[in-house]
Symmetry: C2
Subunit: 354 residues, 2 copies
Amino acid sequence: MPKKSNAEAGKRPTIRDVAARAGVSVPTVSRVLAGNYPVAPATRSKVLRAMRELDYVVNAHARALAGATTKTVAFVVDDVTGPFYAHIARGVEQQAASEGRLCLLCTTHGDPERELAVVELMREQRAEAVIVVGGGWDDEHYQERMRYFATALDRSGSRLVLCGRPSPGDDVPATVVHYDNEGGAYAMASHLLSAGHRRIGYLGFGAGLTTTDERIRGFKRAHADHGVAVDESLILPGTFSKAAGHELTRRLLAERDDVTAVFAATDMVAAGVLKALREAGVRVPEDMSVVGFDDIPLASDLTPALTTVHVPHEQLGREAVRLALHRGLELDDRIVLGTHIVVRETVAPPRRRG
Amino acid sequence: MPKKSNAEAGKRPTIRDVAARAGVSVPTVSRVLAGNYPVAPATRSKVLRAMRELDYVVNAHARALAGATTKTVAFVVDDVTGPFYAHIARGVEQQAASEGRLCLLCTTHGDPERELAVVELMREQRAEAVIVVGGGWDDEHYQERMRYFATALDRSGSRLVLCGRPSPGDDVPATVVHYDNEGGAYAMASHLLSAGHRRIGYLGFGAGLTTTDERIRGFKRAHADHGVAVDESLILPGTFSKAAGHELTRRLLAERDDVTAVFAATDMVAAGVLKALREAGVRVPEDMSVVGFDDIPLASDLTPALTTVHVPHEQLGREAVRLALHRGLELDDRIVLGTHIVVRETVAPPRRRG
DNA sequence: CTGAAAGCGCTAACAA
DNA sequence: TTGTTAGCGCTTTCAG
């Protein structure tokens, strides 16, 4: 029995149906599909017409199987609703789209189990690049984990891209797109110090988080360069949340009366700080200066508008896919994007002591 | 020449390599992979071990080609950074993941060209469901477009899901997951009316947008039920942006002095309204009440915290994939989720004149 | 319970 | 320029 046509069988038409209808061979159809091979104009239009008449749609899976690349980039985050993931995602999606790639979205909710599962899934999908965003820890365990992911993905032809996290080691087959936490913190702390502040609280110290390590380093270096001693008791541990900012501020207010400025670990923390300050009747920036880090959209909507460190989230996402896709060219494998402070309304010189 | 092993050739190991190594046939390996077929425990563990030793990973494309379903759901939005897409996305991703599906993310930037391209792409991918969010227009052109998408996707075995938009017509093969715009607006307007407001500005009227139509309908019905005439000149057209809210408020303030409350078309608009009011020295809620719609995270961070209409974004996303995946069961094809008002700090009775 | 055989829909040499 | 011939890696009857 001759191969029966799908079109007639009520199933989706295949390249074979198109070929039959156009009176050409299957590869010819494949050629007009790919476009990168000479095909006689007449044949070409016959084929095109047949495709249209049958409402033919190529099967991406068959295509991926048969040869060509997979054309898929995966984007892995903790939680899509995180304040800045959206902007990184936009960068990733834009760049992926402009390079003709589709974008897979996966979330892990910080669960190592799921993280592992996601990486395996991406191996199955043969994703060209797997971009992991945020949440880096500074311990051996984490490093090892990433090393494993990187090599596992590498073995199946994918590239791991660490976005917004530091490098897990030079010998790990991964691309890393980071941003200058230390420089940003340094600039921001200097801004405060130059304004005359001497007692600056650092709220939301996340022990073991690489983000924290880097920011604190800049914070301290700025103090050193300004000849101001860092009061370690002013570095308050906490999560990167509004609630933490709120709570820590209340505590700070209750315990100290010499602090004139607060450096919030993130903008989210700063939002909580501002709220607590408002509740306590402390005016910003007259009585207390406040700064954040990240420059999330919320920052400019706060009252007063928050002075913060801008992180190029969108560019981070774009670079991540760009580097992963054009590897081996003159591009570097590990880059660090710059950050800069954005001066808005929450910083003023400290009030003269009464 | 016998079929050469990929493993030896330095390529990725295939099911054939695993079979060879385990000393079984290819279908047997396939069976332990699928798990839905009896395999002798001994054989099973031999295969499992071979897979581990070879670091074997199934090829999702080959699998999709050969039979089984694609296990992919697509999520199409205008712009990932939109204020509430993130929460719908989270719902979509969560539900997709819990149903063992992968999630494709695509953006259109409101460009009809790209929208069309995305739909074609999803047809190629054989996505099980294509969830389109936001941005519905109330014109014939739009309806037709959606009808086309729905039937095109239907023909290639995918299901179109319209999320947060009204139905494009009963005969269109699409699933729609909507939320109660009219009810929410009705409740909110009633809240204002009950507090004593009689002159309420509606800022951000988007002509032709289904969202606007529905909200305005509720707004007017509430007025009617309270025996208050709607002043049409108080319904100000504008986009759903902060800038629009800001600009429209300035205009409103300049032109009218009888308005005691503002109903912002969206929370974003409300953010602009609040800003303009603050700049003009108008106190909220003492001098002017303000309400929004959507209940985006920003709403509770504004000062004062915004009273608004809560839309169950996350649930919207979850239902979208749930309905699309379990179609035909007792589930309905078109559902409307409820909305409710969230009372915060921006509404008070109107100030007594004079 | 396991293997042999036959594709899924497409691309990629290789000829013609 | 076009057709022929082989697979890509997996699942699925159908026998055993």
